[in-house]
């Protein structure tokens, strides 16, 4: 007697349950450390809570925290604007430079050594990076101004001038992260079959044509991956800016309004101003922005071999 449909369904249910049983440690982890905190944050974002009293004692304020941030808080708008500049600068300028370096490193001797050199800042702690660059950027005795003087350009107040201090920090972030991007691009470049370039050469394509019509399209999955992960990371940037520009008695000289980014704004709102409701509302707005940008990047790059990312 062959097993009937009920038996097959039972087996299928059992298999599914077994699967979930094996998945349960990971699911519990995500539930406790991701889903619950996100749900809690959403709940807090509708309340006026200062963390000094139990959350149950906080006041429900509806959308007030959101409307305050979007319509009345000048600093939040400045932080969003600064974050857009920071994210765009670090991710896209960083990627363009990294791609150039990765292409060059494929053609030079001792590429492994140079990749190691490029990667060293990635594993350097942010505190050390901030210290080193803080010294390089010193107006009087820093290396950055010494270079400018050598080429007869006027010296700058790299971290104190409100018009350039954010770009000075972007430069550091690009330097600190470029090694990892170079490695990923190198892997992507090595994955492009040589046969395409050979065919292009036979068709009379030059280096620019090869780059435009072969390298870039073939690197789309890599570019997509780096764009999305880079943008997500850049929108959460905190440590470097905190250490170089603000933060405690070892503070720098930067005008806070010129360098404040969203993560720093949220930290100050929550732990300094004791307005956890507003900070959570800001965090949710940040989440929506990152989600929107990720979708946008996916949409822009979906053609050309990356449909599977949808």
């Amino acid at each position: 007697m062959s097993p009937g449909p009920t038996h097959a369904r039972r087996r299928s249910v059992k298999r599914t349950l077994t699967g979930y049983l094996f998945l349960s440690p990971a699911l519990v982890f995500y539930l406790v450390f991701l889903v619950v905190p996100i749900a809690m944050s959403l709940y807090i974002s509708f309340r006026d809570w200062n963390m000094l009293v139990p959350m149950t004692g906080s006041r429900f304020v509806g959308l007030k925290n959101y409307t305050y941030l979007l319509t009345r808080d000048e600093l939040f708008v400045i932080a969003v604007k600064n974050t857009i500049i920071y994210a765009t600068g670090t991710v896209f300028v960083g990627m363009a430079l990294a791609l150039g370096i990765a292409i060059l490193l494929l053609r030079v001797r001792g590429a492994t050594f140079w990749r190691f050199v490029m990667f060293a800042p990635v594993v350097t702690p942010s505190v050390a990076v901030a210290r080193i660059w803080g010294g390089l950027y010193r107006p009087a005795e820093g290396l950055a101004n010494a270079i400018l003087r050598m080429v007869h350009l006027p010296p700058q107040q790299w971290l104190a001038d409100p018009n350039i201090c954010l770009y000075s920090i972007i430069l550091i972030a690009v330097w600190a992260g470029i090694g990892a991007t170079v490695i990923v691009f190198t892997a992507g470049l090595k994955g492009i079959p040589e046969v395409y370039y050979d065919a292009a050469k036979l068709d009379g394509a030059g280096p620019w044509g090869e780059f435009r019509h072969i390298t870039v399209p073939m690197l789309r999955p890599t570019i997509l991956f780096l764009s999305v992960t880079g943008l997500i990371g850049a929108w959460q940037a905190f440590d470097l800016i905190f250490m170089l520009a603000v933060g405690g008695t070892e503070a720098g000289t930067s005008p806070v309004r010129s360098v404040i980014v969203l993560a720093l704004y949220l930290y100050q709102m929550a732990f300094k101003n004791l307005r956890m409701g507003r900070a959570c509302a800001g965090a949710f707005l940040l989440f929506l922005i990152v989600l929107g940008i990720s979708f946008l990047v996916l949409r822009v790059l979906r053609k050309g071999g990356v449909e599977s990312y949808e």
């Binding site: 107006p139 009087a140 503070a251 005008p255 004791l274």
Partner: protein, 439 residues
């Protein structure tokens, strides 16, 4: 069978022993004390290595151990937290139900801690003692809504710290007394390289540290007769004519080339700053930074004034958590440390700790009077003298947020992105919005 019985008896005895030890431990009153002090301030200052290692200055740990010897039923755990993370730690500890019993509270945080029921009201004897024996500026610092909420621990104020060598090289034999003199001298003491970059600051502020922005400004504001907030805290009045005058006075330093926004008070030990307005606690850093040159270089004078000498003050006070199960034990420990007078020095233990190890000004009158060697030294003497001209920053709800707003707007004016009036108007509008929530 017999062996089995012996094993069971042994196990029961062991269990009993563990239980007894546990119950003895449980019988102890455990107090957790959260401080914002660094390692040597907690553990004490030692000299020498190995067997020659000798305690030269007692830290909080030694005082606590002394108390535990006198009171074996009490166990005190010290939790050291960096100042920048102090309030966060309080919030997190309270949220998770493991709040410390004793805090050192920056007066600016006090209002919200009190309004939210975090702090325990001190016993009447403590309140009486504070009123009778502590310096007025520190009593005001520990007073919130007209009531004392703790024992003043540390009082801070500001003076002009200057580099005697750099002044002498430019022919100045004395520090400036008035703000006008300061502006004149700062521009003459500023040295620029060929490209116009300042290599030596006549005067330095620090844009990234709120206290270094707001406290010198408040001193000038009070000096010219202005006020920051209305007495009932319902309005910010910093954009008054006096407020603008005070900020314009600061801006004079920028306009005459005596400083720029890239200046930093932290470069004083490298002898790149001729003058700065600095707090009393900076002495140890200057000593370490300047080494043997300290006595030759460092000079301290009252903050130069426009109309009358005033300097901003702030207070840290010791408080007990209202949720503590050991409130009485906590206040007993604090009373022993802060009020029991030691003979023949006529000082308190906290006074000794503050003066000899922490490097801050104590708040109790006898501690200020009876540490002549340390408090009359080159650096601290002027700070002690200037306590009479110190005015505490107001203990207002959302004090830290309000301070940040004022600091950010002042820095905008320093950079020339806003006029003094515009910056103070903008600060006033934002601060008024916050005050309306709480008053």
């Amino acid at each position: 069978m017999r062996r089995c019985a012996v094993l069971v008896v042994c196990f029961c005895l062991l269990l009993g022993l563990v239980a007894t030890t546990g119950s003895v431990a449980a019988a102890k009153t455990k107090l957790v004390w959260q401080v914002h002090w660094s390692d040597f301030q907690v553990e004490g200052v030692y000299k020498g290595e190995g067997a020659d290692r000798k305690l030269v200055s007692k830290g909080l740990r030694q005082y606590v151990e002394e108390y535990m010897k006198l009171h074996p039923e009490v166990e005190v755990e010290i939790q050291s937290v960096p100042m920048e993370e102090y309030l966060q730690k309080v919030l997190v500890a309270r949220s998770s139900g493991v709040a410390p019993d004793i805090y050192g509270i920056y007066s600016l945080w006090g209002v919200q801690l009190v309004q939210n029921g975090i702090l325990d009201a001190p016993p009447a004897a403590v309140v009486k003692d504070v009123h009778e024996n502590y310096t007025p500026v520190s009593v005001t610092g520990a007073t919130i809504d007209g009531k004392i909420w703790g024992i003043p621990m540390e009082v801070g104020n500001y003076c002009l710290v200057y580099n005697k060598d750099l002044l002498k090289k430019k022919g100045f034999t004395a520090p400036p007394k008035t703000w006008k003199e300061l502006v004149d001298m700062a521009s003459k003491l500023t040295v620029r390289d060929k490209s116009g970059v300042i290599t030596q600051y006549g005067f330095a502020f620090l844009a990234g540290w709120e206290s270094a922005v707001v406290h010198p400004y408040l001193g000038l504001l009070w000096d010219v007769g202005g006020e920051f907030l209305s007495p009932d805290f319902k309005k910010c009045v910093v954009n008054s004519a006096e407020g603008v005058q005070a900020l314009e006075a600061e801006l004079q330093l920028f306009k005459t080339g005596g400083t720029d926004p890239a200046g930093s008070v932290w470069t004083f030990p490298q002898e790149k700053v001729a003058m700065m307005i600095m707090a009393s606690w900076y002495e140890q850093s200057l000593r370490q930074g300047l080494g043997d040159k300290y006595d030759k270089v460092v000079g301290v004078a009252p903050v130069p004034y426009i109309r009358k000498p005033v300097n901003a003050g702030y207070t840290w006070f010791l408080a007990v958590d209202s949720a503590s199960k050991q409130k009485k034990a906590a206040w007993d420990l604090l009373t022993w440390l802060t009020a029991e007078v030691q003979k023949p020095k006529n000082t308190t233990r906290l006074g000794d700790l503050m003066v000899e190890t922490i490097g801050s000004l104590p708040c109790r009158g006898i501690d200020l009077a009876n540490h002549p060697d340390t408090l009359n030294d080159l650096y601290t003497k002027t700070f002690v003298e200037q306590l009479k001209n110190a005015k505490p920053e107001p203990n207002v709800a959302q004090g830290a947020e309000i301070k940040t707003i004022l600091a950010n707007e002042i820095v905008e004016a320093w950079h020339g992105r806003k006029s003094a009036k515009q910056a103070l108007d903008d600060a006033t509008n934002k601060i008024d919005e916050i005050l309306a929530e709480f008053y």
